[in-house]
Symmetry: C2
Subunit: 287 residues, 2 copies
């Protein structure tokens, strides 16, 4: 495989496109606003005027867009991927989206001789940049094996999770863990500040112990620097948690803490803070 179409060139997508080009892939891109992707075009990506154009004649088409409704449109519109990709194309949705939609794309693609994979990622903007994303893949095992070199260009921990949709389920499990963890480390920081501890000293003391986490090590320092800019958008995390909560309920499972963290984030979003990074959770405690 050599020719890749890439749709959704945002914070994450740009780094992924760069890493694909570094490995010699010929990457065609489509974005809603061309101005925003001038940098990667200058670095060698090929511009497409439409999703249809970006889907035709590729070995694989990769997508990483915002919401399930965007995924739905990009795949199922008349001008979308499934109507325009050649039979035999691998179409890989790396958006965090619903397991149900992943299964639907897989089935529809199959009827057209197209092979769909769900392959959401974790590792955030830093992982995308460093090419160290974890990639959680659902589809047929053969399809996973065939696309492995593409995944390897972008990530380090590339794991086959099972049939179509299981990549998304794995990502949901990941987001559920993050929800509790980011709440815990945020409340830890709030407490530390309010009782008069030096947060930096505290972090140095506890971040390698039983309280330690990626969230503590990577997110708390941003908060301490007053940096609430999105590495990962709060509004996207809310979308993910809402999917996870619903999927859990579909499986007769209530995740109390997930639902509580989601409720707090939704309050922040209603106050217009959805464009902050997930670390903006601190705002809930600062009123």
């Amino acid at each position: 495989m050599k020719r890749i179409g890439f749709i959704g060139v945002g914070i994450m997508g740009k780094s992924m496109v760069r890493n694909l080009m570094k490995q010699g892939y010929e990457v065609s891109i489509y974005a809603r606003t061309k101005e925003k992707v001038v940098d990667v075009l200058e670095e060698g990506a090929i511009w497409c005027d439409s999703i249809a154009e970006c889907s035709k004649g590729q070995d694989a088409v990769l997508t990483i867009v915002g919401y399930p409704k965007d995924v739905e449109e990009v795949y199922f519109a008349e001008t979308g991927i499934l109507a325009n990709a050649n039979p035999g194309t691998y179409v890989i949705d790396m958006t965090t989206s619903t397991p149900k939609l992943a299964a639907k794309i897989y089935e529809t693609a199959k009827e057209k001789g197209i092979i769909a994979l769900d392959a959401p990622v974790t590792g955030g903007d830093t992982g995308a940049k460093a090419g160290t994303l974890a990639i959680l893949v659902g589809s047929d095992k053969d399809a996973f094996d065939a696309c492995h070199p593409i995944f390897e260009a972008m990530g380090k921990n590339i794991v086959y999770m099972g049939h179509a949709g299981m990549g998304q389920h794995a990502k949901m499990a990941n987001q559920i863990a993050i929800a509790g963890t980011i709440a815990g480390v945020t409340e830890c920081l709030v407490y530390a500040k309010n009782v008069g501890l030096d947060p930096q000293t505290l972090l140095g003391a506890i971040s390698t112990g039983a309280a330690g986490s990626f969230q503590m090590t990577n997110v708390v320092p941003r908060v301490l620097d007053g940096d609430l800019a999105p590495g990962f958008f709060m509004k996207h995390f809310i979308k993910d948690m809402a999917i996870a909560s619903e999927e859990a309920k579909d499986h007769n499972t209530t995740l109390d803490i997930l639902d509580h963290v989601l409720a707090i984030y939704k309050e922040l979003e209603e106050k217009g803070l959805g464009d902050l990074g997930t670390q903006g959770l601190i705002k809930h405690y600062e009123e």
Copy 2:
């Protein structure tokens, strides 16, 4: 310093006594039930029939007992540490207890020429065994420096947090982070099982990424092995979270997620599960 009295030879305490003896300290111990500490006595610890006996003529007296009321008794009883330790003795409470009690011990000790430190630890049974505990110390900086070699025998990350009580505050911050984190990883595991993911594969995929934490890496595998035995007792974690919640409120801070996790654990305790390890949280989701 050479002679150490050690009171509270439980899961953690035994490992700590062993590590002190390994560094050449002469360790006298007191425990409520002698039979339970026969192993460390055979390894060279000296038996004392009372706390008073264990407090006299020592360079330092270390305590790691269960609850603040135990700390109160061990320090303030007529037969306790402060009434019996020689002036100049360092008395170090390594129990996770209240910042207020730590300050009270410090003040009372000072009147008697005794130097008190609060030095709760983190790292659990495995950290105690390996001598890699984090030790969070509150007291005068001079006292911290004087006791540093003792701490070094038991821990790796030994941090001065500030005046008396600040070690306890740091430990509270630590427990607050754990509360959210353990809830997140437990709900992650519950979700994974219920949607049909293979938990081991999932852990391999996500534990080094943004969802990763000590709790995920060290606690979830115990749950998967069906091992809910206490590395750290649920009932002690409940005590810690209750102190943290109260201290937060004293500082005009409501920690929503901490309070919610605490409420769930209390329910489990009311069902008679307080003697499980903290990973027993999974029981909440298994009904």
